[in-house]
Symmetry: D2
Subunit: 157 residues, 4 copies
Amino acid sequence: MTRLHVPIPLRWGDLDAFNHVNNAAMLKLLEEARVRVFWIPTIDSEEVPSTAVIDASLEADTLTLVAHQEIEYLAPIPYQRDPLDVQLWMGKIGGASLQVAYEVYSPVGATAQTLYARASTTVVMVDSTTLRPRRISDVERAAWEPYLEEPIVFTRR
Amino acid sequence: MTRLHVPIPLRWGDLDAFNHVNNAAMLKLLEEARVRVFWIPTIDSEEVPSTAVIDASLEADTLTLVAHQEIEYLAPIPYQRDPLDVQLWMGKIGGASLQVAYEVYSPVGATAQTLYARASTTVVMVDSTTLRPRRISDVERAAWEPYLEEPIVFTRR
Amino acid sequence: MTRLHVPIPLRWGDLDAFNHVNNAAMLKLLEEARVRVFWIPTIDSEEVPSTAVIDASLEADTLTLVAHQEIEYLAPIPYQRDPLDVQLWMGKIGGASLQVAYEVYSPVGATAQTLYARASTTVVMVDSTTLRPRRISDVERAAWEPYLEEPIVFTRR
Amino acid sequence: MTRLHVPIPLRWGDLDAFNHVNNAAMLKLLEEARVRVFWIPTIDSEEVPSTAVIDASLEADTLTLVAHQEIEYLAPIPYQRDPLDVQLWMGKIGGASLQVAYEVYSPVGATAQTLYARASTTVVMVDSTTLRPRRISDVERAAWEPYLEEPIVFTRR
C-alpha cells in the first residue's frame, strides 16, 4: 500500500453545536493535508514528502484549482488531542488534473483505528497568466506516480 | 421550476489567500441555506419557508446527519456585498434520507447571473435516542415534495 | 448619536459545541462590519455608506493592519435568522491609525434589544510599498469625523 | 520562567486574502491552546499538563465563559508547517475568574524566535445549573498557581 500518512490535529473549534467535527470543517482538514503533501515549503528547514513539488506561492506560474469534491461521512468525529491519520493517495493522474483520494482515520495508537470519512478532490493545474489548464509536468508525474492507487468508490451517492 | 431561493451573504472572511471564496467555505454557505430552509425557528417572529419542519434543537427527537456531499466548482467567487442566490431543491426523498440539491448563483440583479457551483448533500434522519435511521414522516414528505426536481448530474467526477 | 448600524446575519456555523456564538467567531462578525463600512466596493451597484473610502483591493497603495483588539462578552448569543445590529463608530481618529468601536446588539425588532458585546479595533494605515504607517488622508478624515464618538470604556479588564 | 509552551500548528486556511494569518483566526489558535492546557482529556491515553483540571464535557458542573479578550498584533504571520510556540501563563487568579496570558512566537528552532502577538483572555467559572459564577476550587488554584506570572501590559490601547 503506497499511501501517505498525514497527521492532522483537530481543533476544538472544528466542532459544531452538535459537538462533532462539522461537515465543512472536514474539508479544512483535507485541504491542510493537501497543502502539506503537495506544496513546496517556503521555509528551507521544513520536512516534506517527495510529492511536494507544487509552487503554491502567490507569484507561481500555476494555480491549483479545486474543481470537484466528494465526501462520504461514515462516523461522527469527537474532539481529541492526538492528530487524525489522514491517508492520502492519487486516485487518478490525468492530463491537466489530479484526483486526490483520502481516508480519514482516528489517531494511530494502541487501539484499532476508526474510519471516519472517505473523500476525493479533483485539482486542475491552471496557468496563472492565461487561466487555462496546463499539462501535468514530467517532474510532477514522477513525484506522484508512486502513490497511484485505486480511486475511492463511493457507496452512498 | 419549484426551487427555493435562499439569499446567503458572503463574508470577506470566506476568502482564502487566493482571494476567492474558499472551497470549504462553500460548504458553510450550503449549510446555512439548509438551516434556513429546513429548521423550525426558535424565535416566533422569524419568517421561514413552508419546508421548515425539522426540529433541530439539541433536545430534538431527531438528528439530521450529513452522510454524503458532492460539489462541482464552476467559477471562482469574488467577495461581494449582495447575497448569493442559493437555489435549493429536493433531488431525492428516500425512506429515511433526503438528497438536497443546490445551484449557487451570483446575486439577483440587473445583469445575467453566473453559476458558481452545483452541489448535493445527503441528509439522514436519525433517532436521537437509538441513533438509528428513522423514516421521513408524512408531515416532512408533504412539506418537501413540492420542491422535488431532478437531482444534480455531476459532469466532472 | 452618530453611529452606523450594520446588519450582520449570523450563520449557524458561528456556534461552537456550547451552542452559542463562539468567541472567535465574534471577531469575524466585527471584521465583516468593518469591511462593509470602510471598503470601497468593487462592484458599482453596491450600496455603501459615505465612510467607505478605503481601497482594499490587493493592488491598493494602502494596507489596513489590525494592531489591537479588545472585546467584552456580555451575553451568550444564540443562533437566529435575523441579522444582528452591529453599531459601529470611530472611537479615535489618530495620525496614522483609527480606533473603531462597536456595540453588538440583538436584531432590530419589536422587543427591547440585548447588548451582546462591546469591542474596539485599532487599525493602522500602512503604505503597501514601504510597509510603514502613512497619515490618514483629508478625504478619510472628512468621511469618518461625522461618526466620531466616545471610545468604549472597558469595565472587565 | 514558569510558562507552558503549547505547540499549535497553523492551517493554511487560517490565512485571509492578504496572505497572513487572519486576526480572528488568531483567537482560534489561543482557544486551542487553552483547551489543551486546561481541559481534562476524555481519552485516557492523551498526554496533558498538570493544569488540565477543568471538566469541559457538555454535562460538566461548570461552564467556562470567556468574558473579555485583548490582543496586540505585533507582526504578520505567514503560513508555515512547524507549530507556533504559544507561551501561556496565568496573569491573574481571581475569586471566580482566571486571566490567561499568552505570547505567540514563531516555531522553536535554530533561529531566533519572532514574537507575533500578545494576548489575554478572562475566563469566568460559571455553575452550569444556576448560571452564576462559582469560586475557583482549591484543586484548580493549586494546579494553576505554579504558572502565575505578571499579566500582559498592553502598549497599543
